[in-house]
Symmetry: C2
Subunit: 451 residues, 2 copies
């Protein structure tokens, strides 16, 4: 009894049309990366578990897919080890599947520090794996498209990322808003409130203001142990309205006494100045409630929202001052941004924004009318391909109706038919499958017909 | 103490230059696949172990990378299970990493049989994983490039694969010889010798004739239990010399009494006839000693050898009559061929056949002479990118010598410099980094300078 075929939950097959759409996204994104001078690299799908563990928090460690050691993985395992599932899995698994592209990139930079030139500008488009609970739009295998530069503190790279976001979404014809914040503004805010130790609680609460409102945010801050006086320092920042430059102005008053806060003001002012001079087409704004993985970002933070389609952020990133420190290379600042290919896929599909004619079907199907007719068209197919026109010959001398059906199902644009009459005349009959129009074309004019 | 970063043995990082070379190979191969009407698909990296196990023989089962179940993988494991490492690994691992692209493709076809149109022409370029002993040229993670068509017995598809091989290696500028055989000829030979049960032993022995010589092959056949009379029937086939058509003629005499053998003669005659009419540029020949994974091929067998570089076969495949039968869909014949990207990489490198200027370095580096100078060139960079010219701005106002050094190390072709004089004149100075030539160009002529 044959097994019913299936794939692991949270993974997907991609058929021809899905691949054509995905390749459109990947090639659009990577072409923009290359226009800005970023080079592609790839790292292995599996890394030593020691490289991955402890880099994504306890929750991340749990979501790592571990790979069983090859050979006799359980040799030397004592029965009492069974009581500690976690320790046992470390003993029998030395490797794990890549969880994101950032940690492998940091490992790459440190391992190859003598081969790469700093500032090192790289992009990486590869799948990652997470043993997360699968649900709509969340997968256990999915692609990330990361672009990062390491080895420079220059804010010109923040600008470059903004320009990349601008160009990618213009090319993809998706209306977006880029939200920008700076981690130092949030640190400064916690500092002036005398609650630097509660920076995470403060930003988690602020992050919800759109959803739950000001009063609920204040309640949450109180429940986390902030005093009314501390909340009163933070509250004005939450009430800020107006343009980005008005918000920056107001924040520089609020943060006047905080060194890190004023450094943040300086950075955000410079970045907004650069962006304004760069003729960016997409909308952008300072969003003080933007938090994004506060634990490792140290400067600018970015997030991109689609304006015409309800979905979480489709792109995000920021600056981290010590990306490679975990692997022993200190003081290498990095800034990068990651495009969520799966969400962008959904946005383009939902808004019907894929270009026409993305399919990889061939342009031409030569009908098969028998052995001598096939011998007549075979050299024509060779010529077309040499001219860059994709084509194929139907494999059997089947009824023409069946051959037309095949062309139709595969959305092939043209049928080329040659029977006795055409062979005698040195020509072929070309049928345009969408208009139904037929033309008789001499064989030596076939290539020019399609070019 | 930071850990010294490393990657699992048998895996590799690919830096910018290696990626540029790999992408050249992949895009050349896939562009040819598309010219012949094949569509790309992708399958997940991890499959259910039940899909993979038992498909590659005992040795293959051992070489599968198994993925530990997420959550508490060892819950319910009894101490006595530790004595059977193999059974235990099945209990705690439900998933495995893809071992090749063929079995996942067969699974895909059966699972999506109502969505795809037959004959279904697909290509697939993805990594596979094998827990093999790593050595020079053999990796635990490597890419395969497979092209297959399922759902037709037509020999026109064998021809198509030959044409694909021809076009790929012409485009890559690698001299190759395509060796062709047919499994039915080997079955016929075993049958006329009255040794159909020893078909594997016979072909394994024949396969070695180039290395060990006729006498040693005969000795090996005897050691496998073939009688002198049986060997006398096989020997003439081993002694065949001459052109492919002379070999076919001789074989049709030897196989006259075998139905399967004569079917093989008919197929190989038809295929060679088709190939001769198709104006193939690469060398090709009938090679009766070609065996290739005899256990599943049923018709034509292909193998490609590089002529100017010593390495194993760089491409191979054939027809298998029941690809999808293991997953319950009977009588779907398939034929396909797989390009070994890693070996092709080595051949191109060894023969120095990569095109010049494969690197993904940007074309232009704008020197950074300070904030106002940067503001002057930023819009020029935007213009260049919109015109498709890749460029970047050096991130800091560093010494010009340092900026030149950076351009040099990254092999950037042009430096564009704008100081007070250029800004006053509305121009820039362009330095060709390879010739040293300098030109002063008005800003509004910059794009046309590079196009």
């Amino acid at each position: 009894m044959a097994q019913k075929p299936s794939i692991p939950k949270g993974t997907r097959d991609f058929g021809p049309m899905e691949m054509a759409r995905r390749n459109y996204i990947f090639s659009t994104i990577s072409s923009v990366f290359r226009l800005f001078g970023y080079s592609q690299i790839e790292t292995p799908s599996i890394e030593n578990l020691s490289t991955l563990l402890g880099k994504y928090g306890d929750e991340g460690d749990k979501l790592l897919f571990k790979v069983l050691n090859s050979g006799d993985a359980f040799a030397g395992v004592e029965p009492e080890m069974l009581s500690n599932s976690n320790a046992l899995s470390m003993k029998v698994c030395e490797k794990g599947m890549r969880y994101d592209l950032t940690v492998p990139f940091a490992r790459f930079v440190v391992q190859h520090q003598n081969e790469v030139h700093f500032p090192f500008k790289r992009y990486q488009i590869q799948p990652v794996w997470r043993a997360d609970r699968p649900q709509k739009g969340r997968y256990r295998e999915f692609y990330q498209c990361d672009v990062d530069v390491v080895g420079s503190n220059s804010l010109l790279y923040e600008l470059e990322l903004v320009q990349i976001v601008d160009m990618v979404f213009q090319k993809l014809c998706i209306n977006v808003c880029l939200k920008i914040n700076n981690r130092k503004l949030l640190s400064g805010l916690a500092q002036v409130a005398g609650a630097s130790d509660k920076i995470i609680d403060i930003t988690v609460a602020i992050d919800k203001i759109d959803k739950i409102g000001l009063d609920a945010v204040k309640e949450e801050l109180m429940s986390k142990g902030l005093s009314l006086e501390q909340i009163a320092v933070i509250e004005p920042a939450l009430l800020l309205k107006g343009s980005s430059s008005e918000k920056i102005e107001a924040m520089s008053g609020i943060l006047a006494t905080s060194e890190v806060g004023m450094k943040g003001i300086e950075e955000i002012k410079e970045l907004f100045g650069l962006i304004e001079s760069a003729n960016i087409k997409i909308g952008y704004e300072l969003d003080l409630s933007l938090a994004r993985g506060l634990n490792y970002y140290t400067g600018a933070i970015f997030e991109v929202k689609a304006l015409d389609y309800a979905i979480g952020s489709i792109c995000g990133g920021g600056r981290y001052d010590n990306l490679t420190g975990i692997f022993g290379l200190q003081n290498v600042s990095g800034v990068g941004i990651s495009f969520g290919a799966d969400r962008i896929y959904d946005v383009l599909l939902g808004l019907d924004k894929y270009p026409q004619a993305l399919d990889s079907a061939p342009t031409v199907l030569f009908a098969n009318m028998g052995a001598s007719e096939a011998a007549y068209v075979l050299p024509l197919a060779v010529e077309l391909r040499q001219a860059g026109v994709s084509c194929e010959l139907y494999p059997d001398n089947a009824k023409l109706r069946k051959q037309f059906e095949y062309a139709d199902k595969r959305a092939i644009q043209f049928m080329v038919i040659a029977g006795d009459d055409e062979m005698a005349a040195g020509s072929v009959t070309i049928k345009n499958m969408s208009t139904g129009e037929q033309s008789v074309v001499p064989c030596d004019k076939l290539v020019s017909f399609f070019k």
